[in-house]
């Protein structure tokens, strides 16, 4: 009897563990399938974070082109560029307060990074190159050495975007129609991931709808709405306050969000267009 119980327990635990692993595995796969918006990776052994690839403009100053996050304040970074590029460690920052944080980072992650380094990369001409960076510890021993791919030149995300055949002007367009066909042609380094369009309702919430390229976009007629940030005013409260922003557009606006995939960096980006309904 005793053994049977323990067998059941064992089996149950096994089944539960299997379920957990399967779910975790799926979750992992689902996460891996979601394209990233940046190329930063964390080296598992050292905890050093760095980008695997970057884009820079040709013949233009760019500081902090490559950011490196070091979990140890004694680590030193050096950089060496391929012959078509110039690279230099142009900034080294050390955290001086325990409770401090580098802007843009999660407060919870603060103490993880004691030091950050910025490598400036310059490329006179369009093309591809690489920058190899080496991290050494206080004894001068190499902790990590990696190569970062560098794509030099302006990367055109969108070659042409039209609404009812008319090209956008600074990502915006005016129309007297209540709907229209949105068409987009991307630059050679980019492929289309998704097109969504969004309209505000009177409560200031935007709802998005996914369409295909050359698909139909239904324009909103709502140009007046309120976006509430906060509200503690209730019918039976003695005191309370509320804040927000009231909008009353000249012409109601529909937003078209185009998600593009960068074939070189293997990342996604969003390009937004605005259609104003001139009624």
């Amino acid at each position: 009897m005793k053994t049977r119980t323990s067998n059941i327990v064992k089996l149950t635990v096994l089944a539960m563990l299997t379920a957990v692993f399967v779910i975790a595995g799926f979750a992992d796969k689902a996460q891996a399938a979601e394209p990233k918006t940046h190329t930063y990776v964390v080296d598992k052994k050292t905890g050093i974070e760095y980008p695997t690839a970057i884009r820079i403009y040709a013949n233009s100053h760019d500081s902090d082109s490559i950011g490196i996050y070091l979990p140890n304040a004694n680590y030193k970074v050096s950089a060496k560029a391929s012959s078509n590029l110039i690279a230099k460690v142009s900034r080294v920052s050390t955290i001086t307060r325990e409770d401090s944080f580098f802007s843009g980072r999660d407060y919870s992650e603060d103490t993880k990074y004691q030091r950050t380094a910025g490598i400036s990369v310059f490329g006179a001409k369009e093309g591809t190159g690489s920058v190899k960076f080496t991290v050494k510890n206080e004894k001068g021993k190499t902790v990590l050495s990696k190569s970062v791919k560098v794509f030099v030149g302006y990367a055109q995300r969108v070659e042409k975007a039209t609404f009812n055949g008319k090209e956008f002007d600074y990502n915006s367009i005016l129309t007297k129609k209540s709907s229209g066909k949105f068409s987009v042609k991307l630059g050679k380094d980019f492929s289309l991931k998704k097109i969504e369009y969004g309209n505000y309702d009177a409560n200031g919430n935007m709802t998005y709808k996914t369409i295909k390229n050359k698909g139909k976009v239904a324009l909103t007629s709502v140009g007046k709405f309120t976006e509430e940030d906060y509200n503690s005013i209730t019918e039976d409260s003695y005191y309370g306050s509320a804040s927000g922003t009231e909008y009353d557009y000249i012409y109601p606006m529909t937003e078209i969000k185009v998600t593009v995939y960068d074939k070189k960096l293997k990342t996604v980006e969003t390009v937004t267009y605005y259609v104003f309904r001139q009624n």
Partner: protein, 281 residues
């Protein structure tokens, strides 16, 4: 941090571009402050005919109005012509619910419930415009007090084209070539700097600003047509609240500040030019 870094470098690029553009154009919009009435606003707007944009706050086609008096709001926005549409496109509000009298009983012993009031304050308001035709327009708006009475009326000028004025500086050469030809960097670390002014402007002084070791800028006045030396390093340490940073720029920068006077108005102004060297170490 990573996005911040990208944004920072992009910002620098944009600022550099803006700096170049502003060299040939006058300041876009002017900000007027009326302390007596507690109103400040952009008194000039520029908009392109037939163009509507997502409200680019701080953009030239909007006027940002800030009111300091509680309960003040903007009303009666009027355009001088039917060819211009102008209206309040957004305003930030704060509402306060306050109890103005508690629950009570009147003389007859009848229950009188408490009374509440909701007070609304509008601090920041944006007026935007849309031009159907080219022209110069005016937009007027009233600042109205909480009790509905008029506090003041203000006017915004609207143009559909930027006024083009000639740059006060005709040409700047360094080591015999146009200063712009040295971008992104130069190996010529010293050379003759010559400034030529346009008619109507007088060159007042030329200053060379180079980075010092302590992060402070070293300013040196030089005469026109004299040899200047460019910074070969830009190395400094900067402390801030949370971190200490050591910088060692790849492109040490030398600023050239040219100060001139407008012969007609006597007004003094400065323009900046930048020269970069390359420092691989």
């Amino acid at each position: 941090m990573r996005t911040r870094i990208r944004i920072q470098s992009m910002l620098i690029a944009v600022l550099a571009l803006v700096a170049v553009i502003t060299m040939s154009q006058p300041a876009a919009a002017d900000y007027t402050q009326d302390q007596e009435n507690g109103v400040s606003y952009d008194d000039t707007m520029y908009c392109t005919v037939g163009r509507c944009q997502k409200y680019a706050y701080g953009g030239d086609d909007t006027s940002y109005i800030y009111m300091t008096n509680d309960g003040d709001s903007i009303q009666n926005v009027k355009a001088s012509s039917p060819n211009l549409i102008a209206k309040v496109v957004s305003r930030y509000y704060r509402k306060y619910k306050e109890c103005v009298s508690d629950d009570t009983y009147d003389e007859q012993g009848n229950y009188v419930p408490a009374k509440y009031e909701i007070r609304t304050d509008y601090g920041s308001t944006y007026i935007a415009c849309y031009a159907k035709k080219k022209g110069s327009y005016k937009v007027t708006f009233d600042v109205v007090k909480a009790d509905g009475t008029l506090r003041c009326t203000k006017t915004i000028k609207v143009y559909t084209t930027y006024p083009v004025t000639k740059s006060p500086i005709k040409k700047v050469t360094y080591a015999g070539k146009d200063i712009y030809s040295y971008y992104p960097y130069t190996k010529v670390t010293s050379g003759k700097l010559s400034v030529t002014m346009n008619k109507g402007y007088k060159l007042k002084k030329i200053e060379i600003l180079t980075p010092g070791k302590d992060g402070k800028t070293v300013t040196k006045a030089v005469k026109n047509n004299k040899t200047i030396k460019l910074a070969k390093t830009e190395k400094y340490t900067a402390d801030n609240y949370s971190s200490k940073s050591e910088y060692n720029s790849l492109f040490p920068c030398t600023d050239i500040r040219i100060t001139y006077t407008d012969k007609k108005t006597g007004e003094e102004a400065s323009y900046y030019y930048y020269l970069y060297t390359l420092n691989r170490k």
